[in-house]
């Protein structure tokens, strides 16, 4: 935990971190507010969207779009260590390469915990406001979606960290990260069968927060094959391990 304390010493006074987190919070609240205000056929959408227990799945699905922002935060933090040459200094001062990666992984866990708790608070607030069912059972029966979201956020940030260690420059790493997540892998998905691509990182991670109402759509069209969230979580954990290992390998084989 000493590693996390060192990271907090560096991060807490850093304005950029707070700006990115503030953007994340503001965007989430704006989107939620907007969606609750929409009325369709005279009915407020908010009333539907924030019904318990479905609110947890909807919130997680919505939050999954903002994982990119969290990834960018991690890329900034890692590439800074290169541009300030503090990575080098920390190894000189006694940190091992494993500790360098672990320290950033702890930051990732902390950020994911922050955003998951934030989702929990949002869910509680909006469902108390709009949900008609306030039983304890309704609150907690589907709250496991938040834990799937947590795994997803961690995995996204672990991938972002790998890109940052690989590319070192924040601008390029952010572009590569977004291009991979949003363009390259989706293009690959088009060319290979669902039975295979469901295991690919972006798709598997996406399956952690399935689109609300997907089962309904699937009844009318040929269902796209997806991992169920528990299996996707297994895949997610595997990818987290892989990204950490690859980050470490990069540090091990290259000059700092």
């Amino acid at each position: 935990m000493n590693l996390l304390r060192i990271e907090f010493r560096k991060i807490l006074p850093y304005k950029t971190v707070w700006v990115i987190l503030a953007i994340y919070v503001v965007l989430m609240v704006l989107v939620l507010n907007a969606s609750s205000g929409i009325t369709i056929n005279g009915r407020q959408l908010g009333a539907d969207a924030f019904q318990l227990p479905g609110v947890w799945q909807r919130l997680s699905f919505l939050a999954s779009f903002f994982n990119l922002l969290l990834g960018i935060l991690i890329i900034v933090l890692v590439s800074d260590e290169y541009s300030f040459r503090t990575l080098r200094q920390q190894v000189i001062d006694g940190l091992s390469r494993v500790e360098i990666v672990l320290a950033k992984f702890y930051v990732i866990l902390a950020v994911a915990a922050f955003s998951t708790i934030f989702l929990l608070l949002l869910g509680l607030y909006f469902s108390l406001l709009y949900s008609t069912d306030h039983s304890v059972d309704a609150f907690f029966s589907q709250i496991d979606h938040l834990s799937y979201y947590f795994v997803q956020a961690v995995a996204y940030m672990a991938l972002a960290m790998l890109f940052a260690f690989l590319i070192k420059k924040s601008g390029l790493a952010i572009i590569a990260f977004i291009a991979y997540a949003k363009i390259v892998e989706p293009l690959v998905h088009l060319r290979i069968p669902d039975t295979v691509d469901k295991y690919m990182p972006m798709k598997a991670l996406g399956s952690l927060t399935p689109m609300p109402g997907q089962d309904l759509i699937d009844q009318f069209t040929t269902p796209t094959e997806q991992l169920t969230p528990p299996w996707a979580a297994v895949a997610g954990l595997f990818y987290i391990g892989l990204f950490l290992f690859l980050s470490y390998s990069l540090l091990k084989v290259r000059d700092l």
Binding site: I6, K10, P13, F84, R85, Q89, I92, G94, L256
Partner: protein, 298 residues
């Protein structure tokens, strides 16, 4: 004396450049060891390798007789090439981060800031520092956990004359506490003033190595000859102001301690009943010697 650092045929190759070539040196405890060489001769690369941030292509090194580890790193304070800090953190916060990494006592932060004369600026952020102040902060960071060995890569880079003098004095003071200092510099005069031992590098190759007095000497040399050289050497051995002498074919080359001149030699010889047939003062600049070393064997 125990060896602090043992470098054994260390090499580093970048794509096209052999930055360090089969370098072997030993640094003894308590010495101030200078790594001297022109720009691009491989000083930083060598230090980077022994500090575990640049991969070696071949060769080995050991600290205190052990492979590099967290324990050996704790006993070494190092400044490599540039001061590396978080620009948005204050001097004090930056040092606290490093103190945490090194497991040093927080109380040391203020002590080292005072030592390098930055105490009054401890709450300013690093990015507002002048180059000299950054360099001082880096020096402070190396001293945080009171290490046995200091590794300093161009520590006077960017300092004003006063700062340079202070840093040199600081180095000598630290060394006088029995610590070992490894200093890379392209400044001949710096190495000559500060170091006890020197290794001269050129294009990654070791050109000369040994005590500074033997390798570099800014002192004038005096050549004397007399009909009977053996008696001359006998007299020289007794004279207190002779620093070193070396008999050659039909002359003796000698250097004197500070404050003495060729007149004293002449007088002493005359009093001993020896008449010199030749007495020549050879002024040898450091630069000339340095070029001589660099040119030899290349």
């Amino acid at each position: 004396m125990a060896e602090v650092l043992d470098i054994n045929s260390l090499s580093k190759r970048y794509a096209a450049i052999q930055a360090v070539n089969q370098l072997s040196v030993k640094v003894e405890q308590g010495s101030i060891y200078g790594l001297l060489g022109p720009n691009g001769s491989g000083k930083t690369t060598t230090l980077g390798m022994v500090l575990d941030v640049i991969k070696t292509t071949a060769g080995t090194y050991s600290w205190f007789g052990q492979p590099s580890s967290r324990e050996t790193k704790r006993r070494v304070g190092a400044l490599l090439e540039t001061p590396n800090f978080y620009p948005y953190l204050t001097a004090q916060k930056n040092l606290e981060v490093i103190a945490d990494i090194k497991g040093a006592d927080k109380a040391n932060v203020n002590r080292v800031l005072q030592l390098v004369g930055l105490e009054s600026r401890k709450s300013s952020s690093f990015k507002g520092f002048s180059l000299g102040m950054k360099q001082r902060l880096a020096l402070a960071a190396t001293l945080l956990n009171d290490p046995e060995v200091l590794v300093l890569d161009e520590p006077t880079n960017g300092l004003d004359p006063e700062g340079i003098a202070e840093v040199r004095e600081l180095i000598l003071r630290i060394a006088s506490e029995g610590k070992t200092i490894i200093l890379a510099s392209h400044l001949l005069d710096e190495v000559e003033k500060v170091c006890t031992h020197v290794a001269v590098l050129q294009r990654g190759q070791l050109k000369a190595e040994g005590p500074v007095g033997a390798i570099l000497s800014a002192k004038d040399q005096i050549l004397i000859s007399a009909p009977n050289l053996p008696i001359v050497t006998e007299v020289l051995q007794r004279l207190p102001f002779i620093e070193a002498f070396k008999p050659e074919k039909d002359t003796v080359v000698l250097t004197l301690k500070d404050g003495y001149s060729s007149t004293d030699v002449n007088k002493a010889m005359f009093e001993a009943g020896i008449v010199l047939s030749q007495l020549v003062v050879r002024r040898k600049s450091l630069e000339a010697q340095f070029l001589e070393i660099i040119k030899s064997q290349s």
